[in-house]
């Protein structure tokens, strides 16, 4: 197996990662997770609350493809076969027992231990910023893992979480810190939302991103407190359990005073110890910037006065920063908004942009109770229960989805979906500064804490919302088709020598050539894989004709491969692929 990265630029923090159990050859298209050295190994998986022992419950091609679109980075023929045999519940259960894939690439904490007066990157070559400060090494790992690692559902949930509790390389640099943050989301994807919020609040990366590190009671910065309430927990309007507005119109969940209360309560944290600069640490008493570990209390900066938080939670005079943090988290988990606010967004990221109120209510109940049909451990915020409730709900599994069902496949899922279906592999490099920027979803570089797109972006011409339409327009509509063209007709990208373990970005059409002598069979095979069903009749006929226009006379010995390219282009550029239902 090819190592993911070269040793010199990889953090050498100890043990080899465990090889991921249960890999199937069909899924192992690039280097496996057990590369040389580097990064923390995944913690052991808590397999309680995963509804173990479910029997097989075979299902249809269409249902299997839908579940693959909802819970993985896109169907492959092997994955669809597995889901068809196991059925949704067992597949979800199995997915929750797999160890987490990791982010390993990129530089170490040396960027925050640099005490020489010369620039850190002096003498470290042209790729210093990329490898030590940027999120590009994470992007490589993300795409490699998304295309090939078996913990697909965990990775999808982590992708959803990072679009809610956003940090962005646009404003925070330090590869090792970003790596810690995103490994945390992978590790906690099937944990508990309260713990996720706790890790997010104490993350020094988040502390820098939203200004809560070294936040001083003398004049507290409100940035983190406001976004914690607005984006990470409860939103701005009071909600019923089904996600609708309480009272039918927006009643604010908090005012400026409450934001300030939370800002004061969250003062008094500094970076963990371990960093160093040529000039010492500033302000006095604080630690130098450092991203390994959680933030630590800085009592001199913490406001200890009594506070009244939301949901009836209060803080007494003389309390500590640690106690204040727990009270903040208690207040958010007790608030009636959190379950529908977070639950609905997770539904939008995995299944459909416009869930029915009843669906939201069922998911909110799973979040609150911590249980769903054998999944979960009974504590509010249980992610296993919530994710199972989302994917196994009748609305997600219905063979006859409503007219409002579905979502626009976001660009990241377009990239991985086509690569996975067509036997492709990638080192991620072409999917960042090129295609990621082109389609406005450059992983780890969200334009702001509000993510690449808002959850309520209106879908013009309908009463619905379409979040991913917030970055979709005439330009990106054409570029989606151009991306497929790039893969199937222009042979993608070759390896770039400056990328460790480079393989480029390419599909492998050979497995489909066997069916190319019969255009109809080829088109149907690709449609069944990509869409779960054949194309509508008129479009199917036109696609078959287009495929058949490559003949020995027109294109010579390559005509069968060209037919596969033609069929793949049309199926994957089709609107029926771009919108999942």
């Amino acid at each position: 197996m090819t190592p993911l990265h070269l040793a010199p630029i990889v953090a050498d923090l100890g043990r080899r990662a465990l090889a991921v159990a249960g890999l199937s050859a069909a899924l192992l298209l690039v280097a496996c997770g057990g590369g040389s050295g580097g990064g923390t190994a995944s913690p052991p998986v808590d397999t309680s609350g995963t509804a173990a022992g479910l029997p097989d419950s075979p299902t249809t091609q269409l249902d299997a493809v839908r579940l693959a679109d909802q819970g993985s980075f896109g169907p492959t023929e092997a994955l669809v076969a597995t889901i068809r045999t196991q059925g949704a519940a067992k597949w979800v259960s199995q997915q929750m027992t797999l160890p987490a894939s990791r982010y390993r690439s990129g530089g170490t904490d040396a960027v925050h231990r640099h005490t020489s007066q010369t620039d850190f990157c002096q003498g470290r070559g042209d790729n210093c910023w990329r490898d030590w400060s940027s999120s590009t090494p994470l992007l490589w790992d993300f795409y490699r893992n998304a295309v090939s690692q078996p913990d697909q559902l965990r990775q999808r949930v982590a992708l959803a979480l990072q679009q809610i509790v956003v940090v962005s390389n646009l404003e925070v640099s330090g590869t090792y810190g970003l790596r810690n943050y995103h490994n945390m989301l992978l590790d906690q994807a099937f944990g508990n939302y309260r713990d996720i919020l706790r890790s997010v609040t104490l993350s020094p990366v988040m502390g820098d991103y939203l200004d809560n590190v070294n936040n001083d009671k003398a004049a507290p910065n409100e940035n983190f407190a406001r976004e914690l309430l607005q984006l990470f927990a409860i939103g701005t309007c009071e909600l019923n359990s089904d996600g609708s507005l309480r009272g039918g119109a927006c009643q604010p969940t908090y005012n400026n005073q409450k934001v300030l209360d939370y800002a004061y309560a969250l003062t008094g944290w500094t970076y963990p110890a371990g960093g160093a600069t040529p000039y010492g640490c500033w302000p006095r008493g604080a630690n130098c910037p450092y991203y390994n570990g959680d933030m630590v209390p800085l009592p001199a900066f913490h406001d200890t006065r009594a506070r009244s938080l939301l949901a009836g939670v209060t803080l007494p005079d003389g309390h500590t920063a640690g106690a204040a943090l727990e009270a903040v988290l208690d207040s958010l988990m007790a608030h009636p908004n959190t379950a529908p606010f977070i639950g609905k967004q997770l539904i939008q990221h995995l299944v459909t942009s416009n869930p029915s109120p009843a669906y939201v209510e069922r998911v909110a109940l799973a979040f609150r109770s911590g249980r769903y049909e054998g999944f979960g451990g009974g504590r509010a915020g249980d992610m296993k229960a919530t994710v199972a409730a989302i994917l196994l709900d009748a609305e997600a599994r219905s063979g006859n989805p409503a007219s409002r069902a579905g979502r626009l496949r976001e660009p990241v899922q377009l990239f991985t979906g086509v690569l996975r279906a067509l036997g492709g592999q990638t080192d991620g490099d072409a999917l960042g500064w090129w295609w990621g920027e082109e389609l406005r979803q450059h992983m780890f570089r969200s334009p702001s804490v509000f993510n690449f797109y808002p959850p309520d972006y209106p879908l013009a011409g309908t009463p619905l919302v379409g979040p991913a339409f917030g970055i979709h327009n005439a330009n990106s509509a054409l570029q989606r088709a151009n991306f497929v063209n790039y893969l199937v007709f222009w042979n993608g990208s070759g390896p770039n020598a400056s990328v460790p373990g480079a393989v480029g970005t390419r599909v492998n059409l050979q497995t489909f050539v066997a069916d190319a002598s019969d255009p109809a069979r080829l088109v149907d095979r690709l449609s069944l894989l990509a869409l779960g069903q054949p194309l509508p009749a008129a479009a199917r006929a036109a696609v078959i004709q287009a495929v058949g226009s490559y003949t020995q006379q027109s294109s010579g010995n390559d005509h069968l491969t060209n037919r596969v390219s033609q069929a793949a282009y049309l199926v994957f550029a089709s609107p029926h692929y771009q919108v999942t239902r």
Partner: protein, 482 residues
Amino acid sequence: MKHQPHAVEQALFNRRRWLQFSGSTLAGALGVSGLSALNQTPANAQSGYRALVCVFLYGGNDGCNTVIPTDTTRYNQYAAVRGAMALPRSSLVNLSGSDHGLHPSLSALAPAWAAGDLAPVFNVGPLFAPLSKAEYRSLPASDARIPQSLFSHSDQQVLWESASSRVTERTGWGGRAAATLGTTNPVISVGGNGRFGLSALQTPLVLPEPGGTFGLNGLQNPTWAPEVERRRALEALYAGSDGNAVLNAYMAQQRDALDMSARLGALVAVRPGDQAGSLLDAAFAPITTDGRVNTPIGRQLYQVAKLVQGHVTVQGSRQIFFAQQGGYDTHSGQIAGTSLDGDHFRLLKALGDAMACFYNAMRAIGMGDSVTLFTQSDFGRTFKPNNSSGTDHAWGNHQLVLGGAVNGGTTYGTAPTLVIGGPDDVGQDPWELQGRWIPTTSVDQYAATLLGWLGASPAQLDTILPNLRNFGSATNLGFLSA
């Protein structure tokens, strides 16, 4: 919020139906546009071309440091509260005759002021109706007279872009204006989607940067059978409709995209240096290096300039554009050491230079009086800084309008009283003394002035801006000549 169906919008709806039934053909996409037959004359009878260019400053621009009072009393009030964040009076770009100056980074706009083509508009923000401090403090937050979700980025962006006081508004005032006026094209955005250009039925036309591909690859050959058949099959895939609403909307947008790319692809692709002797290139030369405009906002305004210059190709005699610059959420690092450095300094430099180049470009091509540029932003920022060399979210903010039609050389709106806890500050309690101004001019009034110049009648203004009637006769702030 719903507005009454308008005759022109009804006609537009029928146009979209026509496109769906007939199917937009790719043959049309490669050749002459099929949309020329659908030219609509604007409701207003004025002749000639007029365009509005919105520049949205995402994050909340600190207006207090953008337009600064220079008379001794108020400058001293400003300096006393702003402390290290205050700009030295000697550094300001003097707006002679107005007792105000601009942030030094906006020095490129000094000639526009001298020519009478630039004007600040003070303390603009989302309102339902005129609102006093007493009302703000006594009314419950859920009262209709208090705009929703104040101080929240995403919601205030919605309120500004939609000229609404309710965060559930789905359309933008630019989009509603384009629909009501029956402009040939929807809002054209060079700065991403946003909400501004959305109407009930249409999305804005979002274009890429100069040089960007705006078309489908691999379909250029009109005679080779595999490519001909590929085009035909794509057409078949995009045609028709489906029972699924999301898929339907996607397909409709795809068809529009193909039509637009045919008409505009070549124009969009032109970069600085592609056309010898280009007047636009000369105007943008100060911010161009090696054939590329240096800043994102510069590139966007270059693109707008091209589309204005090429308005015959773009079609339509009335056009609304949307551009944006991000990064204004300066909670920290707004200044660095002194106020003559830091994030805000750099942001305004990029903005001012790009605006000045655009202004010069419009004058160079004889369109100076035809194009008006105006700023918007999520909100202003706290008059009193925080302890992180930054400022926090506020409300009313100062905007700039620029163009030959501007009645410049003077200021508009009412500047706030620069007293923490004073009559214009939302705050009164000890914990809320940061200087967040209650707007004295609403987004509706600001938009109505701009749209009235564009050609909207009073009845059309009431359709586009439903809260405008709450401001009585004050629907034209006067900063644009007729």
